[in-house]
Subunit: 302 residues, 5 copies
């Protein structure tokens, strides 16, 4: 079963969403429908400890400059940094305003990521997309879906593309293979698609984590088979694969390759990029770009 990346024209999008996605995908980065985002909300999610490896990355200007130099399609910021730093770069680089987020200090057993900004904030700041973390499977599912619904509705009203960080999380997921298992990532992809994500950010699935997972996921799957299935589960939600904690470069690039083969639209790597010296960061970004360039979108003729 061959799966090709969905074309913008096939997504049933309102004009505003299509205009903004077009700007991100065809007027920045490789300009052929793929995307490479630089996420920078780890200062909130993990605290300043993420900057000890490369203290320069503590400064938002350093990271935004890196996104520009590295040819990224956009940078992801929380409201505070977006307000205080993005105005100097407005128009040069698409902004993804992350709308929710939390510290890692209290327990994650019933994870819920509170909302810190609105789609109207994104419009005011000139952002081209908004991001929302949905903790798939959390015992706080009801509150999560409810706050997500309000943001989805606002995104429709204002024509703002919605990127869902679809993260399996919480005690029940831990009991069924864990947050990176094929089962969990596949369910997360489908959930984002069923709930109206325009783009979904996913972790790369680990099919070998198949203990305690429901029946059909206990089989033997290659990582390519797993990522193929996950992208299929996302349907017409464009897929971005995230990097997660910093890992070996070869493994990361191989995952990137398999993801693009499977029909993903792009990558969203943060710590793997900016937790290195400046030139190393650019070199790694360049290696990612080389992979994306092999997967231009088929543009539907008008």
């Amino acid at each position: 079963m061959v799966h090709t990346r969905p074309a913008l024209a096939d997504l049933g999008l309102e004009a505003g969403k299509r205009a903004r996605l077009n700007r991100i995908l065809f007027q920045h980065g490789a300009r052929h429908g793929t995307a490479m985002f630089l996420p920078y909300d780890q200062g909130l999610e993990h605290g300043p400890r993420d900057f000890f490896a490369n203290p320069a990355a503590s400064d938002p200007r350093y990271v935004i400059d890196l996104a520009l130099e590295g040819g990224f399609n956009g940078v992801v910021l929380q409201i505070g940094l977006a307000e205080k730093f993005y105005w100097e770069y407005a128009g040069e680089l698409p902004l993804v305003l992350k709308l929710n987020g939390k510290t890692e200090i209290p327990s994650d057993a019933a994870a819920l990521s509170p909302v810190n900004a609105t789609v109207e904030d994104a419009v005011r700041l000139g952002a081209d997309a908004v991001g929302y973390t949905l903790y798939v499977g959390t015992p706080a599912q009801e509150q999560d879906f409810e706050q997500y619904r309000k943001i989805r509705a606002e995104a429709v009203r204002l024509g703002m593309p919605l990127i869902v960080w679809a993260y399996p999380r919480g005690s029940a997921i831990e009991a069924k293979g864990g947050k990176d298992s094929f089962y969990a990532v596949d369910y997360a992809a489908r959930t984002a698609s069923e709930l109206g994500a325009d783009v979904v950010k996913l972790n790369f699935p680990h099919p070998e984590k198949n203990l305690d997972v429901p029946g059909d996921y206990t089989g033997q799957f290659s990582s390519q088979e797993a990522i193929d299935a996950v992208v299929r589960s996302a349907n017409r939600s464009l897929v971005l694969i995230s990097g997660g904690t910093r890992a070996g470069d070869d493994a990361m690039l191989e995952k990137a390759r398999e993801s693009m083969e499977a029909g993903a639209t792009g990558l969203i790597f943060g710590r793997n990029v900016w937790q290195r010296e400046h030139d190393e960061s650019l070199r790694f970004a360049s290696a990612l770009r080389t992979i994306l360039e092999k997967h231009p979108s088929q543009v539907t003729p008008r």
Copy 2:
């Protein structure tokens, strides 16, 4: 006590609801007042594991095409798939927008199905009805009734027919015969009717599950007696019987027959339809249609 299916003219409906129900019941499917719906929200409710039996069914286009080919009166979708896929089929097949739903990952002991979309979304997308899952008897009853009330009010305001998935669920139901017991299904039917469902989706009752149920339900009832009572409890809420997990065809068809005998308006079978090869699906749908055709509505002369 003979019970005939209520006529649209007797339901006290506002013009908008009547127009839309008329479109579903008399301008699609068998076009004589019965209905056969194809529900497709299992990707959210159970995850992609439901598609392992027939991987093609993972693609929403495949399933919507099946609904068209199989002569169904409508397809049931969550907001995400409705937005991204229904626009290609708009006008050809009625859409039931399911307004709430959840993953099966966290515990179901105090089940509550969060709201993911609004009646206004349904109007915007050209849907002809909305669906809401009410977990009858859940310890979270207060939140459930509250979010239901808001949707009911919006459905009245916008003339949108409201289909209630009346599902007994939660720890207290498990202690009184279980969610498929005659007691539980009968109470669920009445609850939906008391709370203003235009249509109610019910599981087929199991009168043999009579351990721990309240006094009057401990007796011996045939399945026909049970379904007769359940449809009577629903009063002027039109009844749809659901298929549930896939089971033997003969048993399923017998239940369908008994339901229609009892005065149900139709059937809403999902996995029993699309968890088979394509041609098998159509053959089974055709068998269901044959049953419906024996039960046309008595149309009240104007």
Copy 3:
């Protein structure tokens, strides 16, 4: 201390409330200021098991017809039955729209009756009063008072009489004599009056249930003394005494007599009426009416 039923003119009512109460009390039933209501929300509160004694009563039309034939001042319905059935009787019989209600399936320890309809629904349907169940003493008191306050405010805004089902309930009440104790019913009557009920529905008090009740209620009181005190505690909230579970006719009629002696405005008996054969129901209703007729209101000359 003689206590006479308060006159409408003495209640400080807005025009809308007075017009509607006048319609109920002086233009239906005995037409002299007393009232006899037929409540029919047990299908939700207890489930269809309440209809096993007289299966015909499962049909709302049967019960509404009974209210008409029996000369009742009104019928009490939840939103679903009101929408689907009342339109055929509109204008012939006052409707009391019950605004909240619940199933008996989950635990009652922290009882709370969720809101299922609004005062605006009542206006839309042509109702002449609304009903609200307040679980006096429930651990969920804060939510209960809060949702009640909103309904009270809407009832004031729209001139709709508000009937409060003042029901002692929950774990703390069970520990202080129980829900039918003189202590509990007396406190409930006063609570409804303090919180602005136009009419209060109460259970008949049991002064002999005086174990564990606060000091002053441990004394010996006759049932007449107890009901006298309860009606006094209700002040200018008109009192209706409910029937509760079906009991012996003589005992019921004696309670009715004592209630009217005490200054109650009327009775609200459901299962005691419709859980019998049709003619028996009318005979019992007639016996109740005979009692009411001995207690016409003193109409204040204009």
Copy 4:
């Protein structure tokens, strides 16, 4: 440190609040800036058992008449009694509409007094002030402060004086000297002042309850020293001292004297007044008035 009662002109009040406070303090009662209120919400807070000592007091008319005859500056009622009884007295006696209240039936460990009426209700009924019970130190502090804030904002918007019943309550207070300790009452006074009370109702402090209280309160203080400090903590919130459960007359009058010496604006005694025979009530009220008359306000010359 001499402390004089703050003048209305020094409180930074909007015109509406000042007009209404002026009406209460200078156009009723002793008409010289002191106040004596008759609270009558005990029927809700404690139930009808409070009327067993003097059954006549169960009738709101009896108590309002007492307030008129006794020369009180106002009567305090919950919404229900205010709506049904105050219209006959409107203009003759200021009304304080108590906006929240609860029954004493469920546990008080995390006390919270739900809101039963609004500032708009007070305006509609012609009240001259509103009352709110703040349970200082309750584990439900967050909900308490939140509902209080909304009422405070409405009171500002509508120019309605806000009287805060500042009552230490809940498990943590019980562990720190109890609700009548000097520590608790002093903290309550300051809390009301910090949160914007125009008037604060306090219990008389008991400096001898100094076990388990924070360091500085373990010392030896006379009751005059304690009440002096409490009034100082209230700053520009005018202080009313409440009577609490009925106690010996001499002790009550001594407390009243010390309170007025300390700079309190007045007294708010309920059960100590109306739990006696009619003439005894008036005699006691007269004794209170005699004390107030020794403490006229210094009116700031215009």
Copy 5:
């Protein structure tokens, strides 16, 4: 890595926020871009016990006068004191209206500071900034972030500078080094910055509290290194260092010096100032001012 205090012109501020910050920083106090605030909400946070050391400080006028005499850039008040006392000083001294606050009576394990006033209150009262306490790491993080977001949005809408009291608090922080640890303060600084604080109030970090803290914080850091890092983590949120409980003067002044060296904008010392005799307070304030005067802002030329 040298870190200089950000200039107002570089913060991407709306006109209203910039006008008000300019007024505070350049038209009061030392008038060169530093700030010294006198906080006075301890009467709510700790109760009147904070005034036992210097009873005169119980009177808000005394403290506001001290702020004027001591050359402070502003005084911080809760709504009640702001309404009743600030009108006499309006225009002479900037007001920071503290929008949330709580008593210390109930448990702090899941600390949450309820909202007591709005940004609109601040506008009405002529305040130049608002303050919000964010309990970083509290198990009640979701409610905290949610109520913070609403205030942030209002502050943007009305052009009102937002000062965040970023206080690590709650059971999880206690388990990771405590609320004053370098780890906790550093994370708090970044959190405030990510969430859009214009100014952030922080405790001075204690790098020696490094037991149980995450890996990178277990190292040896001087207090200057720690405060440098913390100010860097705050990015373009201006930093104020708080005094906390009263301590030795030399230690306090040394902390103040290190903070200003690190790039802080100023100090916010309360109890260390007003828990002394009047002249001592002024002397201490003068010593603080001397430190600030060594760190004037570099004003960006227009």
